[in-house]
């Protein structure tokens, strides 16, 4: 070790310098003429990959569409993707890199609230923009984040109301089962306060949490069965597990022979993609609520579905051509909203774009005209309640008359 010759030392030094100079190489900011960059923060590996992965492609599809119409302010959009690998701090790291090195005009990304919370300080410090396409727990209103999807007051509460109404199942007792992190915890906290205000006793509520990626639901489904058979009225399960825990839960639910007419499940994060590997016949009737469901009628949706199918087949995207989920549409909306705002502002600078948000609206594939106001960075969306059908999708059994005004901070909890 001590006998290294001078030449070795020099060679090694070169290595060290190369290593240390890496950040300097990163510094080169490639700004091709005539393009504007948008960054995507969606994982293509790790636990969230199956869900988030497809959003990268939707973003590219939306950008292609806009570019085909001449781009924004005469520039074509270039989508920059990365892989945060379902690793929350890495979202922050890559977000920083995209804002500071790639100089992207806006970020589109995150699925779980954890990842959003980790990117939040980065966009705030760099005064960037993050479009967040998931419905979430609310209670947050940063000027640097555009909340494209609904806070609970305008998505979860209507669905719970539906279950409690006589049109639903007149639900009296609630089993809350969620993954142990901020979104389920907050949603359940708000729901408990909501039910309390409706006069439902504490004893009629049960709350259980499992770690992310949890798969062995045998004991928990046993507990649900027991809970359901106890006296006190119609039980329902409010399911806030995420990722691979959703199909695992349903599989066990089917095997223990519980039907939706016995114990309906309101799966708040359940999308068509989660049902992909399941025989959904025994699941018919379970519910979900989103701002978009694939089954919605209308020309905007027909066009979106057709475009996506074409995009998937022509670009050999490794996802199904005939499955469209809410976050995909929300990502599609997000890119379009940004383009509208930038065009209105006449600039890609974040403060200018922020100012332009007030009053813009877009014809969402859901059939609603979604819009933003100057009050906050939330987007007013429609609400759908869907019921699982035998074709691994959802039938729409209820939808809102128009787009309710988003309420960022829940009055409950």
């Amino acid at each position: 070790m001590n006998e290294l010759s001078r030449r070795n030392v020099l060679q090694t030094m070169a290595g060290v310098t190369a290593g240390l100079a890496m950040p300097a190489i990163l510094t080169r900011s490639a700004k091709a003429a005539g393009t504007v960059k948008l960054g995507c923060l969606f994982s293509s590996s790790g636990t969230m990959a199956n869900l988030e992965g497809r959003l990268n492609f939707v973003a590219k599809m939306a950008a292609d569409e806009i570019n085909a119409k001449g781009g924004v302010l005469g520039k074509t959009i270039e989508i920059v993707t990365a892989d945060p690998a379902s690793d929350w701090p890495l979202y922050a790291q890559i977000g920083r890199q995209m804002l500071q090195q790639e100089k992207v005009a806006a970020l589109f990304g995150c699925w779980t609230s954890v990842s959003r919370k980790s990117v939040l300080p980065v966009v705030e410090q760099a005064n960037g923009l993050l479009f967040y396409p998931l419905h979430f727990e609310g209670d947050e209103n940063s000027k640097n984040v555009v909340y494209v999807n609904s806070p609970p007051a305008s998505s979860v509460i209507p669905a719970v109301d539906y279950l409690m109404s006589s049109e639903g199942v007149s639900a009296k007792r609630f089993f809350m089962l969620g993954s142990d992190y901020v979104w389920p915890r907050t949603i359940n906290k708000q729901l408990k306060a909501y039910w309390k205000s409706k006069g439902i006793p504490e004893t009629a509520m049960r709350e259980e949490y499992v770690p992310l990626g949890f798969s062995n639901f045998q004991t928990l489904v046993n507990q649900i069965r027991k809970f359901a058979d106890e006296p006190g009225g119609q039980p329902v399960v409010v399911l806030t597990t995420v990722g691979s825990s959703i199909p695992d839960f349903f599989r066990e639910f089917i095997n223990q022979g519980i039907k939706a007419t016995d114990v309906p499940v309101l799966g708040l994060d359940v999308v068509e993609a989660d049902l992909e590997g399941l025989d959904t016949k025994p699941l018919i009737g379970h519910l979900t609520c989103w701002a978009y469901l694939q089954g919605t009628k209308g020309p905007a949706n027909a066009k979106f579905l057709k475009d996506w199918a074409t995009y998937v087949t022509s670009k050999k995207v490794p996802f199904k051509p005939d499955v469209a989920i809410d976050p995909m549409v929300s990502t599609y909306d997000a890119i379009n909203l940004w383009a509208l705002a930038a065009a209105k502002a006449g600039s890609f600078d974040v403060p200018e774009v922020q100012k332009a948000f007030a009053g813009i609206s877009f014809d969402c594939p859901s059939g609603y005209k979604i819009s933003m106001t100057s009050e906050n960075n939330y987007v007013a969306r429609g609400v759908f309640i869907g019921s699982v059908n035998e074709k691994q999708g959802f039938d729409i059994i209820w939808q809102s008359k128009d787009t309710p005004k988003p309420v960022p901070f829940s009055p409950f909890g």
Partner: protein
């Protein structure tokens, strides 16, 4: 047998024909309009069917069953001009006359919401009880009616009791009517119902009986009180028993998974002292090969699709064993003297395999056809359900155990492997080709991992990351059991599985896992060689 059945059917028809003679025909178009309408109309229509069914004629009953079945199964199509339905066989018929027709262009399939579904399904079941063609269909229908007793259905059940000819079904209906009389004003009938319920112990029966304590008869009638209290305590005893059984079963099911994931590792680690961090990925590849076999069946032998899981067993074993052998001869053999480096190298392999599969197949969960023999489960006693897919895993683990035991104890290969495990140098000296044994053992261990992946297909999600879930758990099982002993691995898997399941209801799944792992870590500090140490030279 056949003649008896025919006679029964003939009699059945006769009775039906007689009763229908007294009835006016049903207003089919009105009913169909209701079923095609909004949720409240659907409910009203369904209710009126239920009322009519108690007296309607045979032909009308068949028709009502066909229409409600189509409604539940979403085979009904409501057009502006005509309502059609698709028979289960596939032909489209006019919903009113059941004569062949073409589907209306404006046809739309009504969607049942949860409430309507909750009403329509029991009515359909009651109709099945009347017109069902087969005893099993009827018994299943009876169970569905019993689960959601509605007053309107009682008349149908009574009618079914009158016309039923099959003694087994008749007996079942008889006891069901007695159970359904739980709410009857007559305490004697109630007492019979209470006894019936106590014979089918479950939390649901218990809830029903506990409600009866508020009846006036409970305090007034001593016999009634004794019957009720006796029934409740009997159910409670059965429930306690069934809970114990359920816990043991859940524990065994977890243990079987742990055992299968660990057994291949136990062989490899025990024999070579090499830690294969890619073991989880071999398991994942086993699951993917199973998927490919399923797809091959779908393409070539669609009729035998349900048996792909069985057919995949030798294929999965061969493929993963071959991969394991290739891995051993290209990489692992360089690390026998450097076990720590083998950790990193096999981790690199696992990283590589996960990403290779991810790039090739994508990250989505694979879709597996659940064969009919793995669907659902059976209620054994009380709240204890045996689910077939987990029973399959337990059975598979037992087979794996048997097979591995046979190889290790009854074959020359096993003898040589044990010799090498005990003392590699000495085994080499007496002429055992240790290199070859290493390679075969690695292949065996890899093949077993692949089989574990196969057994997990009906239980867990299959995606590129699935292997990483198991790796730490299976290592702890191997080390806890004692390196190189099959019995140790088995005992450790069962112990960990049971303890986990015992702790889980009280403290939650995470705490259970944390407590179990900490217990293992502490145990290993006290007894590093594990539960069952092989008496060999310590490496």
């Amino acid at each position: 047998m056949w003649s008896r059945l025919l006679a029964a059917v003939a009699l059945f028809c006769l009775v039906g024909a007689q009763s229908s003679a007294a009835q006016q025909p049903l207003d089919r178009p009105t009913l169909l309009r209701q079923l095609c309408g909004e949720a409240p109309e659907v409910l009203a229509g369904a209710q009126s069917t239920a009322e009519l069914a108690a007296t309607a004629g045979e032909a009308d009953l068949d028709w009502m069953q066909a229409v409600l079945f189509a409604l539940v199964d979403r085979r009904l199509s409501c057009g502006d001009d005509a309502v059609t339905l698709r028979l289960p066989a596939g032909t489209i018929v006019n919903a009113s006359t059941l004569a062949p027709a073409t589907e209306s262009a404006s046809g739309r399939t009504p969607i049942l919401n949860l409430r309507s579904r909750g009403v329509v399904e029991p009515i359909l079941a009651a109709l099945n009880l009347l017109v069902g063609k087969d005893a099993n269909v009827k018994l299943e229908a009876l169970r569905a009616v019993e689960k959601k007793p509605q007053p309107t259905l009682l008349a149908i059940v009574e009618r079914a009791l009158k016309i039923e000819r099959d003694p087994q079904v008749k007996g079942a209906i008889q006891s069901a009517t007695e159970t359904l009389a739980l709410r009857s004003p007559d305490p004697e009938k109630q007492k019979i119902a209470i006894r019936r319920l106590s014979e089918e112990p479950s939390t649901r029966s218990l809830t029903l009986l506990l409600n009866l304590r508020s009846e006036p008869a409970y305090n007034a009638n001593a016999g009634y009180k004794a019957a009720l209290d006796g029934a409740i305590s009997s159910i409670e005893r059965w429930l306690a028993f069934s809970n114990v059984l359920a816990t043991i079963y859940n524990g065994m099911s977890l243990a079987s998974i742990l055992f299968m994931a660990a057994v291949g590792l136990a062989i490899i680690f025990g024999l070579m002292g090499v830690i294969n961090l890619a073991q989880g990925e071999l398991l994942m590849i086993g699951a993917y090969v199973t998927f490919l076999v399923q797809e091959a069946f779908r393409a070539v032998l669609p009729g035998l699709l349900d048996w792909y899981l069985i057919a995949a067993i030798p294929i999965v074993f061969t493929v993963t064993a071959t991969i394991g052998m290739a891995l051993e001869s290209s990489l692992i053999r360089h690390f026998y003297s450097r076990p720590l480096m083998s950790l990193l190298a096999t981790w690199a392999v696992s990283l590589f395999l996960v990403n290779l599969v991810r790039v090739t197949f994508g990250t989505q969960n694979l879709q597996f056809v659940v064969p009919f023999y793995l669907k659902g489960g059976i209620t054994v006693v009380g709240d204890f359900i045996i689910t077939w897919n987990r029973l399959f895993a337990i059975g598979f683990a037992l087979l794996t155990l048997g097979g591995t035991y046979y190889i290790l104890r009854r074959t020359t290969l096993g003898l040589n492997m044990r010799a090498v495990t005990l003392n590699r140098t000495m085994a080499g000296c007496i002429g055992i080709k240790t290199r070859q044994i290493d390679r075969l053992a690695f292949a065996l261990g890899s093949g077993l991992a692949g089989l574990a992946g196969l057994a997990l297909c009906p239980i867990y999600n299959v995606n590129p990351q699935m292997g990483t879930l198991f790796i730490i758990d299976s290592f702890m099982i191997v080390v806890l059991g004692g390196v190189g002993t099959l019995v140790g691995t088995l005992v450790a898997a069962i112990g960990v599985g049971q303890i986990n399941v015992l702790i889980e209801p009280a403290y939650g799944a995470v705490a259970a896992k944390v407590i179990v792992l900490l217990m293992i870590i502490l145990f290993l500090q006290w007894r590093p060689e594990g539960l069952f140490a092989v008496k060999g030279r310590r490496k």
